[in-house]
């Protein structure tokens, strides 16, 4: 029996996550025994799991990896794809924040409270945010302020406020600041008018000033007590602050993509039919759709019941995709923001706490539709490097070649010199054949584009 502690699980002395024989477990230490048993026996666990707010687990009887500390070992339900807050669109982050607060409110009814509010404790499961850290709960004692308040503001309110009031791309600061965006930075970036709303004035601007003022000081915390009513007031105030953060989707370049393409109705229908057939032939256990836009082709897979992750570089497209997912109550699709030319790297301590994009693969099937020309021409990625990368993340690929004569490629070349002498079908095929076997190729009707089904060698 060899167990391996997860490289991201080391901060909380109450327990840790580990892998053994391909399964994921969590050791609950004796220091957490009282809180754990209260969570389970008070009814809070049942309520949270029934409402889909907490990941369910079962207690198991296996050898403790660290027996001197251990109380119990639990096996939580596995999340099929781990994603991080810097990969989420606006509404995903907002829903994760609201879920965290909903859990906090439920906790208080059972004499408990969240001891941390990290956005990394939330994952998407069946289309909805869920808390995965079963050890986040502690007994509530009236008078005690909320220890997780700072973390909530930095992980959730700060990025949402910046995305809403300044620029949608500012959630990328979460990649750099692993414990949420610092409040002094948030305060300096937010426009002045945000100081006129009580919620942002208090929880961001004054909060930042208070942090700075008391940074080096020791304070007698006995003087600072928070009554239960005030505690509830804080939680309600944060909920109202989060709900107020909104993002109006203007007409961005990518979100109206399908009105703007050169596919005729016949071509689009044939492409959809062919992609569906290729997916059936591969029969994958999961699919990644790269450059998925609003997820039209991702849904061919997810509607078949295949868990699908739907990646795009454009936050607006991912937002539209996610809103559709929520509206239709879809459980098999996870939209995420990703720049393929600069995908999420490993980060945190030892660069290992958070997985890189490639570490979360490989998958059975990757869709690379209407994408190669953007990579090759807009981003100067040679076919050879493209094939190598795709081979490292996918066992089979469904990939579309867009020839230079296509009007979309012509549009990309309009403002630049055509240095892409190797951008030909023959070159494409010969470079990809070094990493893949081309099983099938189909010319899309009423179009010059070609769809391929390729298997990794």
């Amino acid at each position: 029996m060899t167990s391996r502690v997860d490289s991201g699980s080391f901060r909380d002395p109450n327990g840790f996550v580990f892998w053994q024989d391909g399964s994921l477990y969590r050791q609950v230490n004796t220091s957490y025994e009282d809180n754990y048993e209260h969570l389970m026996e008070s009814g809070l666990y049942e309520v949270l799991v029934t409402r889909g707010l907490l990941v369910p687990h079962e207690e198991v009887n296996i050898q403790f990896p660290q027996p001197q500390l251990a109380h119990k070992v639990i096996r939580p339900e596995l999340i099929p794809f781990i994603s991080y807050p810097y990969e989420w669109c606006f509404s995903q982050l907002k829903d994760a924040a609201l879920t965290t607060l909903e859990i906090q409110k439920a906790c208080l009814d059972f004499g408990m409270s969240l001891k941390d509010c990290s956005a990394y404790n939330v994952q998407f499961r069946k289309g909805k945010p869920v808390l995965i850290d079963t050890l986040s709960f502690e007994r509530y004692h009236e008078g005690q302020p909320w220890v997780a308040y700072r973390q909530f503001c930095q992980h959730f309110l700060a990025p949402l406020a910046l995305m809403s009031h300044k620029d949608i791309r500012l959630n990328q600061l979460l990649r750099v600041y692993i414990d949420g965006i610092p409040l002094d930075l948030t305060s300096s970036l937010l426009p002045v008018h945000t100081r006129l709303t009580f919620s942002l004035l208090s929880h961001i601007h004054l909060h930042a000033r208070s942090q700075k003022r008391f940074a080096e000081k020791t304070v007698d915390m006995k003087r600072y007590k928070l009554s239960r009513v005030s505690f509830l007031g804080i939680v309600n105030s944060l909920e109202s602050a989060i709900r107020k953060q909104k993002w109006q989707l203007g007409s961005t370049g990518w979100a109206n993509y399908y009105q703007d393409t050169n596919y005729s109705l016949d071509a689009l229908a044939h492409k959809r039919q062919t992609v569906a057939e290729f997916i059936d032939r591969i029969d994958p256990s999961s699919v990644w759709d790269l450059g998925a836009n609003v997820g039209m082709f991702s849904r061919i897979a997810s509607d078949k019941g295949i868990p699908t992750v739907s990646f795009d570089i454009d936050p607006a497209s991912v937002e539209i995709n996610y809103r559709e997912c929520v509206k239709r109550k879809e459980i098999n699709i996870l939209p995420l923001v990703l720049d393929l030319t600069n995908p999420s790297p490993g980060s945190g301590w030892g660069s290992e706490e958070r997985m890189s994009f490639t570490e979360r693969g490989p998958v059975d099937c990757v869709l690379v539709l209407a994408l190669v020309h953007h990579l090759a021409i807009s981003n100067n990625v040679p076919f050879n490097r493209m094939a190598e990368f795709l081979g490292s993340i996918g066992r089979s690929i469904v990939i579309e070649f867009i020839p230079k004569s296509d009007s979309q490629v012509q549009r990309l070349l309009r403002t630049r010199e055509d240095v892409f002498l190797d951008y030909t079908r023959q070159c494409f095929e010969s470079e990809f054949e070094k990493y893949f076997k081309i099983e099938s190729s189909v010319g899309i009707r009423d179009s010059q584009r070609i769809l391929y089904l390729m298997r990794r060698r």
């Binding site: 901060r11 109450n14 220091s31 025994e33 941390d116 909320w146």
Partner: protein, 69 residues
């Protein structure tokens, strides 16, 4: 095992994250206002409920007076 005195100056186990002194202080200040808002909302809902019951009781009694016995 859990310290009972939650008012000691170093915050109690099991909070492993740093709550931040400035964050705790501002929270208590905001909490006073936010708590008052919660209390006012509860109080106002009770006042509304009281008057609603009062008027609906009156109208029920008037209707019953009109019915044949």
């Amino acid at each position: 095992m859990l310290p009972v005195d939650v008012y000691s100056h170093s915050l109690t186990v099991p909070a492993y994250i740093d709550p931040g002194t400035g964050s705790l202080i501002i929270q208590v200040l905001i909490g006073v206002l936010a708590g008052a808002a919660v209390a006012a909302k509860v109080y106002w809902t009770r006042i509304k409920g009281f008057f609603r019951n009062l008027f609906s009781n009156r109208s029920h009694r008037t209707e019953n007076d009109d019915k044949p016995s």
